[in-house]
């Protein structure tokens, strides 16, 4: 695939803002999406162990439903967070995104319904476990397997998208066009590394879980200590496994001594020490976020270098500035997004810390955030309709 073809595959409308902004947003939002993918994978996987143990174990009888609930909510959040990197990648990497979607068209369709079936079954698992029905663990295993398969399909799309040199032979092997959409590629080491990260992620989650519940009087101290210890074990063992797989992946793609790779290794070592000591897991989580951003940067670096090597630089993408809509996005994201999500998360945090009904109307912060969110949203609607009516009048009168 030479540069002239790759450049021709860019959308003729150009990009509406500086390409680097989309690249940074991609790195940032992919890291967020991946964090919840890994948390859901880890929480679901561990809940299966708890579910198999049944209600007899006094610790797991508390932990398992909480892990199932965590997995359940994480899947919803990973889906919504996944929309953003999906959006930003196709603005600047059109060739990669659109070629992959067409070459793997059947898998794309299967992916959507795999997610539908897998996630619906996960709700079944949640209700079956709640009602202590026999067979709930089996339902959980099937659901887990289906969702993991969906993850493998997503991995296929990512891998195919960075194989531009082989696209033509995938589409027309020996010059015979194949429009079936069954292209499937795997990179086992990269996949194993990504999946392995779910172990330390659920480990650090458990440390946070025990830290959060430690102030609640209705949770036994021995349970808090058990879940913290379990989290530490998972975090430490998982980080060691991930570190080995990361080095193997970097050796495979020949980036081991790249500054981003070295920074990731340092980050993992820092995480290892912090997870082992477990003095404050909230700080460990901050470092985990930094490592997730470094991994996301590494992925982007690999893709950027592959494409640049072929003469496709995202920085040369023609720009047609689109100011009103970026102003809308930035103001909505920074004002409504932060205030609104702060309202929901502050309330969730305080409800979690309370043992009875939480009275948000008497809590200054929750009250103020709630009122501000409401006013911001009303103002947003007024501006939206005002903007629309003005444009319409301008164009039709």
């Amino acid at each position: 695939m030479d540069a002239s073809v790759l450049l021709a595959l860019r959308d003729p409308a150009g990009v509406p803002f500086y390409p680097i902004v989309f690249q940074v947003l991609y790195i940032l939002t992919w890291a967020l999406h991946a964090a919840f993918v890994l948390l859901s994978l880890g929480a679901m996987g561990l809940s299966l162990y708890g579910s198999a143990k049944g209600k007899t174990d006094k610790y797991w009888s508390i932990l398992t439903p909480h892990l199932i609930q965590t997995g359940k909510i994480s899947v919803s959040i990973l889906i919504v967070l996944g929309v953003a990197p999906l959006l930003f990648t196709q603005v600047i990497y059109d060739p990669n995104w659109y070629v992959t979607n067409t070459l793997s068209g059947m898998w794309i369709f299967i992916f959507v319904y795999t997610m539908v079936v897998g996630y619906s079954m996960y709700y079944w698992y949640y209700y079956a476990n709640k009602a202590q029905r026999t067979g709930s663990t089996l339902i959980g295993f099937v659901s887990f397997g289906i969702l993991v398969f969906a993850g493998i399909l997503m991995h296929n799309f990512a891998v195919t998208s960075i194989m531009p040199q082989q696209w033509m032979s995938m589409y027309a092997p020996n010059g015979v066009v194949n429009t079936s959409g069954w292209t499937f590629n795997l990179d086992i080491i990269r996949l194993a590394f990504m999946v392995s990260l779910s172990i330390p992620v659920v480990g650090i989650f458990l440390q946070n879980y025990s830290h959060f519940l430690s102030t609640r009087k209705d949770f036994d101290a021995s349970f808090i200590s058990y879940s913290a210890k379990l989290g530490t074990n998972f975090a430490v063992i998982g980080l060691l496994i991930s570190a080995v797989l990361f080095v193997l992946w970097m050796l495979q793609v020949k980036y081991l001594f790249h500054p981003v790779s070295l920074a990731t290794i340092v980050g993992v070592l820092v995480l290892l020490v912090m997870a082992k000591i477990n003095s404050n897991s909230y700080y460990t989580t901050l470092i985990l976020v930094v490592v997730a951003l470094l991994i996301s940067t590494m992925r982007e670096l690999i893709r950027f270098d592959i494409m640049s090597g072929l003469g496709y630089s995202i920085y040369d993408y023609p720009i047609n500035f689109e100011i009103p809509s970026i102003v809308m996005f930035l103001s909505t994201f920074l004002v409504m997004g932060f205030v609104g999500v702060a309202f929901l998360l502050t309330m969730a945090w305080k409800v979690g810390k309370s043992e009875g009904v939480f009275d948000g109307s008497k809590d200054v912060m929750v009250n103020r955030l709630g009122q501000s969110t409401l006013y911001i949203m009303i103002a947003w609607m007024v501006i939206y309709f005002g903007w629309g009516i003005t444009i319409l009048f301008k164009n039709i009168l």
Partner: protein, 445 residues
């Protein structure tokens, strides 16, 4: 090198690839519209419950919310990006055009989505863990966020039909593309449907509560009947307005099946008015089985046919009336520096300008004429038509029955001259017309 930015082709035998998007889209519309409608209904119920001190409404809202979590936030949230994915596989350049025009609008919608997804869990799971006043405020913001997602997507899907005015082509501005003449009628048409759907789903929940509390069940069923009738009326009113804002090519397609569509809509209206009237007058007659069956009726008779019609009426375009369904840019858009690809295709041919045509098929020979004819037919026609003799979805068999090569060619020539408003005005070099015609003739439809 004279090449245009066309991607590999994905084709599902006998059906084409567009039906995958249609199927996913229809399912998504049911769930997403229900979720926005339910968000408005929640705000209404929470308001009544708080002001009138009706704490018995909360268990209903919780039950409805749990149903909504699975119905809308499992199936709806997956099929949302699912439409995007399947549409990309079927029409990569159509989606690319939308993305490159509206990326910031979509990104803004994403902010609302985040609020909605976290919000629904907080709303449902904390209903009995937070005070009523905070819960009420939460339902208001949740409703506004849900309507916000509609407000943002509506301009994009309206643009798919057409930008509404000529301004976008001159300025290239997303605002001119987004706020076309059909954006607001389209928006309120969908708001009406959302309100109606919230009542239709609400009837499933209220009727299932009869054993627990018959009086409350009947009261809520009556309310859902009123809500549905109001939503249905808004839908009908704005549907008529919306139809009046559509371009000529849309009306040309609509004219083919106008009588059948009007008949179908009248029957659906009568059936649902009767259903909602029963919910108001004799709520005891509504049970969960009937209420669920009515969702199925809406899905099959209303949504599937409605979405098929909307997709057909866009023809021959897939987005903004400048990209044909077969992924060819059909006009200049000076505001975006976009040039029509029709002249270069007419001069060089599709085989030469498409970068994914293998070298051995770039030039038509006696040996490869049928093979190139098949590839050209797929590239030109398969986004809307199935090609095989056994084709199911809009089969070309029905259009070309009994035709020989010259007969097919005469149709292709007419299309190249723009004889059919709903078909692409695709002019090809003679040898490509010839190869396509030979391929179709060889199928002996």
């Amino acid at each position: 090198m004279d090449i245009i930015g066309q991607f590999p082709l994905f084709y599902f035998p006998d059906y084409g690839s567009a039906w995958m998007m249609g199927l996913t889209g229809t399912i998504h519309i049911l769930f997403s519209h229900t979720s926005v409608g339910a968000a408005m209904l929640f705000a209404f119920l929470a308001h009544k419950a708080y002001k009138e001190n009706r704490s018995d409404y909360y268990p209903y809202m919780k039950k409805y919310g749990m149903f909504l979590l699975i119905f809308s936030y499992v199936l709806g949230s997956i099929t949302g990006p699912g439409i995007w994915n399947t549409a990309t596989a079927a029409s990569p350049r159509g989606i690319s055009a939308l993305i490159h025009n509206f990326v910031w609008v979509w990104a803004t919608e994403w902010v609302f989505f985040i609020y909605e997804v976290i919000g629904v869990f907080v709303l449902v799971y904390f209903i009995d863990k937070i005070d009523k006043k905070t819960h009420l405020r939460l339902t208001y913001t949740f409703a506004l966020a849900s309507v916000g997602t509609l407000a943002l997507i509506i301009g994009i899907i309206s643009f798919m039909m057409w930008p509404g005015t000529e301004a976008f082509y001159a300025t290239g501005s997303a605002s001119d593309a987004f706020f076309g003449v059909n954006t607001f009628p389209h928006m309120f048409l969908r708001i009406g449907f959302m309100i109606m759907m919230s009542g239709v789903i609400g009837l499933v929940i209220s009727s299932s509560m009869r054993k627990e509390n018959e009086e409350l069940s009947n009261e809520l069923s009556r309310k859902m009947g009123y809500v549905s009738i109001l939503g249905g009326f808004i839908t009908l009113f704005f549907f008529i307005w919306y139809m009046g804002t559509l371009p000529d090519n849309a009306h040309a397609v609509f004219a083919f099946s106008k009588d059948a569509i009007i008949k179908n809509r009248i029957i659906l209206t009568l059936v649902f008015v009767a259903y909602f009237a029963i919910a108001i007058i004799k709520p005891r007659l509504i049970n969960p089985v009937i209420a669920s069956a009515m969702i199925g009726v809406i899905l099959i008779s209303g949504l599937w046919s409605g979405e098929k019609l909307r997709e057909s009426m866009r023809k021959p375009y897939v987005a903004g009336q400048y990209i044909y369904s077969n992924q060819i840019i059909s006009r200049d858009v000076p505001g975006k520096h976009i040039k029509s690809e029709l002249p270069i295709i007419a001069e060089k041919g599709l085989l030469q300008v498409n970068p994914f045509v293998p070298a051995r098929l770039k030039v038509i020979t006696d040996e490869n004429r049928l093979e190139t004819g098949e590839l050209l037919a797929k590239m030109s026609c398969s986004n809307c038509h199935s090609l095989e003799k056994t084709g199911v979805y809009r089969p070309l068999r029905d259009r070309l029955t009994g035709m020989d090569k010259e007969g097919v060619k005469s149709i292709l020539y007419a299309m190249g001259e723009g004889a059919f408003a709903y078909m692409p005005k695709l002019k090809l070099p003679e040898n490509e017309y010839d190869a396509i015609a030979e391929y179709f003739a060889s199928l002996h439809y």
